[in-house]
């Protein structure tokens, strides 16, 4: 079944706290390798195809790094 939603993670804002990772019921998010200016290995949208646009990840992000579309 195709993605019914999409997110965008603000690379520079992310602090790599990892809270969004387990929050996503579809396990779409992972912590990346690239380090941002803050010195954090920001999270990235690893599995876009599974995203439902439920926005749970965005709700869980303390730094409001995630935007969600449906």
């Amino acid at each position: 079944m195709p993605a019914t939603g999409r997110i965008e993670i603000d690379f520079e804002r992310c602090k790599a706290c990892e809270l969004c990772v387990p929050a996503c019921p579809k396990n779409c998010i992972e912590i990346g390798a690239r380090i941002n200016a803050q010195g954090y290995a920001a999270a990235f949208f690893a599995r876009p195809d599974d995203c439902t646009g439920c926005a749970v990840c965005a709700e869980a992000c303390p730094d409001v790094c995630i935007e969600v579309w449906r």
Binding site: G5, R6, I7, E8, E12, R13, K15, A16, C17, E18, L19, P22, A23, Q38, Y40, G53, A55, V56, A58, E59, A60, C61, P62, D63, V64, I66, E67, V68, W69, R70
Partner: protein
């Protein structure tokens, strides 16, 4: 990247609230202060209060409230936010006035101010972030620190024989006649976050309806001073913390005239 997203999925279902200034926060990774800030901003947007709000910042990790919430903000001395808010509200009863305080700020040095603001039925709203420690100053013991919890000033763990029990402010304040609304929430699961938003809206609505004093206690995290990964910090909130500090609504006034 935005365009990319827009092409297939037109409807944005989650975005930063208008009243939350679009800047990087100084909070540590995974700190729930960020979530509480967002929820407050959302509630301000919900009621369209931004232009008639005066916020009162505490001294603590939330001292920079004025950098993040797009409203007028007064800085209060440590613990005195409810007194400053009283001064603002008495001078401008038509404005919306809230404080945002930590547990050291509200439950320790600010005890008297919050209790008497509540007892007067001061028509203000209080966001109380309980992370069981003094975050900003490096994780010392707070009145809310759990029994046995090791902090930089309770290196042997909090012992009730010496320091007493963690104080339950939501319950304590609920016993006062002037309190219109008192609830304790957490933000460690999507469901909890939903409940927390409801609680903050209820609290703000009490002020709008002039029912008196309202407070929402957030069980929050301090990964840095707890020495935990953010995810484990959340687990602590879901575990021992909410066991000792039960979530729920402790008081909710129904009609305005409380004689």
């Amino acid at each position: 990247m935005k365009t990319e997203g827009k092409d297939r999925f037109k409807r944005q279902v989650f975005s930063r609230p208008k009243s939350l200034v679009d800047v990087k926060s100084h909070f540590c990774p995974g700190c729930h202060h960020g979530i509480a800030h967002r929820i407050v901003a959302e509630a301000i947007d919900h009621f369209g209060l931004r232009e008639k709000t005066i916020g009162v910042a505490c001294v603590g990790c939330a001292v920079f409230l004025y950098d993040y919430i797009d409203v007028d903000v007064a800085e209060a001395p440590h613990g005195r936010a409810p007194a400053v808010a009283t001064g603002v509200k008495r001078a401008q009863p038509d404005k919306f006035v809230f404080t945002y305080q930590g547990d050291g700020d509200l439950a320790a040095i600010g005890t008297s101010e919050v209790i008497h603001a509540a007892n007067r039925g001061e028509n203000i709203s209080i966001i109380f972030v309980n992370n069981t420690t003094y975050g900003m100053t490096g994780g010392q013991m707070a009145p809310t620190t759990m029994l046995g919890q090791k902090t930089s000033t309770s290196p042997y763990g909090r012992d009730f024989r010496k320091d007493g029990y963690p104080i339950k402010m939501a319950e304590l304040l609920a016993t006062l006649e002037g309190t219109a609304y008192s609830a304790r929430v957490a933000t460690s699961t999507p469901a909890q976050i939903r409940k927390a938003k409801e609680a903050v809206r209820k609290a703000f609505d009490m002020q709008i309806k002039e029912m008196g004093f309202s407070i929402v206690e957030f069980l929050s995290t301090c990964p840095t001073n707890w020495g935990m990964k953010p995810i484990d910090a959340q687990k602590r909130v879901l575990g021992e913390m909410s066991e000792y500090f039960p979530l729920g609504v402790y008081k909710e006034r129904k009609q305005a005239d409380f004689l």
